[in-house]
């Protein structure tokens, strides 16, 4: 146990800001996962690998002298088509089956992607430098890398645009209708096959954006996908499906929680404490749910 947070009050501010900036980025990935989980009832284990692939797109742009920030525009476009391709090849065959089969299928895709990326790009850890500099606050006691601020800003921008798109556009309405009741939507003339493909594409595109941002703020290599899958899975579990503001809040909450766990319990318990939190929340939810059921009885 460490009590640095109390000895150095500025750490509290730093931890909150770091956590929020990090959480927003995670929330973006979780948002994509929640979307396709809600619409297609598929838990995508390959989520993190799509993120890393998006990161490589930004990295290669950086290698060829283009500023990696442009990756947040290029990566989603490419990833959208990658998503559609994955849907057409694999996902459309498992979309109506039970959850276990889709988990197995996406797990397979995840392994395939890892190995292909390793084969194509090599096992080296890489990153793209944005050269954005640093923002200093409170007499330079709190430091925020501008790349983190940039990525949080872009994440929010994409999330907001997507929410508006879902509300206003025809496809967005079709997606929401399919999520509510696929059969009814089909009867009313929604081409659900198209909706599924588009949903998976949009999810992959969001992963592409997040990946580009991660290559600017952190590092990427072919085997780093799984932690992102797990985090977004947790955020969705905590927030519940179809609860978009909830996803944003639980993303940021988890980010802050992680940072504090790091300072108070120690870095080695950072990930562990997040898992503990997940277990607690699931137990709590079950408890609440069972009381509700009794009430209904």
């Amino acid at each position: 146990m460490d009590f640095l947070v109390f000895q150095y009050p500025m750490i509290t501010v730093q931890a909150c800001l770091d956590g929020i900036l990090l959480g927003v980025l995670f929330a973006l990935i979780a948002y994509g996962m929640a979307l396709q989980w809600g619409v297609m009832n598929i838990i995508n284990i390959a989520q993190g690998d799509l993120v890393i692939l998006g990161g490589y797109i930004a990295y290669f742009m950086y290698l060829y002298g283009i500023h990696p920030a442009w990756g947040v525009i290029v990566a989603p476009v490419i990833m959208y088509f990658v998503g559609i391709a994955i849907y057409k090849l694999v996902i459309n065959k498992v979309v109506d089956r039970d959850l276990f089969i889709s988990i197995l299928a996406t797990f397979g895709i995840s392994i395939l992607f890892m190995q292909l990326m390793n084969f194509a790009f090599g096992a080296d850890v890489v990153l793209a430098n944005s050269g954005y500099g640093t923002t200093m606050l409170f007499d330079s006691n709190v430091v925020l890398p501008n790349s983190k601020i940039f990525s949080a800003f872009i994440s929010i921008l994409f999330a907001v645009c997507l929410v508006i798109y879902m509300k206003k556009s025809k496809l967005g309405r079709a997606i929401r209708a399919t999520a509510q009741n696929a059969r009814a939507a089909k009867i009313l003339g929604v081409d659900t096959e198209k909706v599924y493909a588009a949903t998976f594409g949009i999810n992959a595109a969001l992963c592409g954006v997040a990946g580009a941002l991660i290559s600017i703020t952190f590092t990427i290599h072919p085997y780093m996908g799984l932690p992102y899958t797990i985090r977004s899975f947790m955020i969705v579990i905590v927030a519940g499906l179809g609860n978009l503001p909830g996803v944003a809040m639980s993303g940021m909450g988890l980010g802050v929680f992680e940072e504090f766990a790091d300072y108070i319990l120690g870095t080695e318990f950072r990930i562990g404490s997040v898992f503990l939190l997940l277990v607690l929340i699931l137990v709590y939810r079950r408890f609440k749910l069972s009381r509700k059921r009794e009430y209904l009885k």
Partner: protein, 412 residues
């Protein structure tokens, strides 16, 4: 028709017989000494696996073209059977079994990384197959009482204690405050043990002791602590991702610390990926091309580096150099044993005392090389932004003077 079948089965039986009989003679066939190696050609260690393989191949070609190995008045040439262990310890152990019991290999070269060497060592030990390894530095390899394991490199706990000693020396012999962050894997934790020893020896205090997760790509929390608690030395070890993450975030967060010591800088291509931000970082290395060790085959480090670059198109990292050295050790041992008897070769290996371009080699009873100190280099950049690694410690090999303390970010 029936005759055809009979002929076919006869021929295939012959083929099977022939192939197995070749395999059982595989240790020394004709004028060839066949060594076995499981190497990570795919999977997460594949880049370093390839460096290792290139190092082995370079030495095999060189030794063969310069007269080979002379045993019992006859000249032999080296040959290596490689298998891809997919960076997976279980697979590596299986492949070691296969090399020994199916392919009949009687002498082994090591794989890449401490973890895989740990997986293979029990197998080679069980069969009494001498193994010279060049890429497993974990201390636990040398405390298990293995008799057939020999490592040409210095053990992991010696990687960075030079840095602590240097820091204490520069502090006028007074103890220093140390902040450390290590990944939770066998190698990095061994480096950590070395630092703990050095701290105790010098009376220094460890004020931050973070353990980083395996999928580390964010150490902002550690760096915030460093910023607030102002240690004299920051030590980071977490393979290439640790080195890259540390430099990126130290620069972004403008963390001022008088001394920054790390591992895996050249594998991470720090100065290429981070340019001037990596300046002043101190890096532990098994080898550097500017060291002045010499041998008959590669002459010295500079010549080795030039030849390697000509053949493979890149500057050799120390992983390649130490792998080449493993072959030189084997050649020397075969010639001194003057036999292919595994026991005699093992004893000859244990008695090794030689100099190679990579460094002096002399094995302790545990199998680690005790005659080659680690070197520390510092990343130094000129005004145009091109950076170079210069050896700064130990003083005997230093080609530049250590810049200490690291200038503050506000003055850079």
């Amino acid at each position: 028709m029936r005759l055809n079948k009979i002929i076919l089965s006869f021929v295939s039986a012959l083929v099977i017989l022939f192939s197995t009989s070749v395999a059982s003679f595989a240790k020394v066939v004709g004028d060839k000494i066949i060594l076995g190696a499981a190497i990570s050609l795919t999977g997460k260690y594949s880049s370093n696996g390839v460096h290792t393989q290139n190092g082995y191949n370079m030495a095999v070609d060189r030794i063969n073209s310069m007269g080979g190995v002379k045993v019992g008045g006859k000249t032999y040439k080296f040959d290596i059977i490689y298998y891809d262990d997919e960076s997976n310890p279980k697979r590596a152990a299986q492949l070691a079994e296969r090399l020994i019991s199916q392919d009949g290999v009687e002498f082994m070269l090591g794989p890449y990384s401490s973890g895989l060497t740990k997986a293979i060592a029990p197998v080679t030990e069980k069969y009494g197959v001498p193994m010279v390894e060049a890429n497993g530095a974990s201390r636990s390899l040398f405390t298990k009482g293995y008799k057939y394991l020999f490592a040409v490199l210095a053990p992991a706990n010696l990687y960075l204690d030079v840095a602590i000693e240097t820091a204490v020396e520069l502090n006028g012999g007074k103890p220093v405050k140390i902040a450390q962050a290590f990944e939770q894997d066998a190698f990095s934790q061994d480096v950590r043990l070395g630092i703990l020893d050095a701290a105790e020896r010098t009376g220094s205090k460890i004020i931050i002791d973070d353990k980083l997760p395996k999928e580390l790509n964010d150490m902002a929390a550690t760096l915030v602590k460093v910023k607030q608690m102002k240690p004299d030395v920051l030590v980071v070890s977490g393979h290439t991702k640790g080195a890259l993450t540390a430099i990126r975030q130290i620069a972004e967060m403008k963390v001022d610390v008088p001394m920054l010591a790390m591992t895996h800088c050249d594998a991470a291509k720090l100065s290429k990926q981070h340019g001037k931000n990596s300046q002043y970082a101190l890096c532990a290395s098994q080898w550097h091309k500017s060291l002045t060790y010499k041998d008959d085959f590669f002459k010295d480090g500079m010549t080795y580096a030039a030849d390697f670059e000509k053949e493979f198109g890149y500057d050799p990292p120390y992983q390649s150099a130490e792998s080449s050295a493993a072959l030189l050790v084997f050649k020397d041992a075969f010639e001194r044993a003057n036999s292919f008897d595994q026991k005699k070769v093992r004893d000859a290996l244990a008695a090794t005392n030689m100099q190679t371009f990579y460094g002096n080699i002399k094995f302790a009873p545990g199998g680690q090389n005790v005659d080659k100190p680690m070197v520390l280099f510092q990343v130094m950049c000129d005004a145009s932004g091109s950076c170079e690694n210069k050896v700064v410690a130990p003083l005997k090999w230093a080609s530049a003077k250590l810049i200490h303390p690291i200038p503050k970010w506000s003055d850079r």
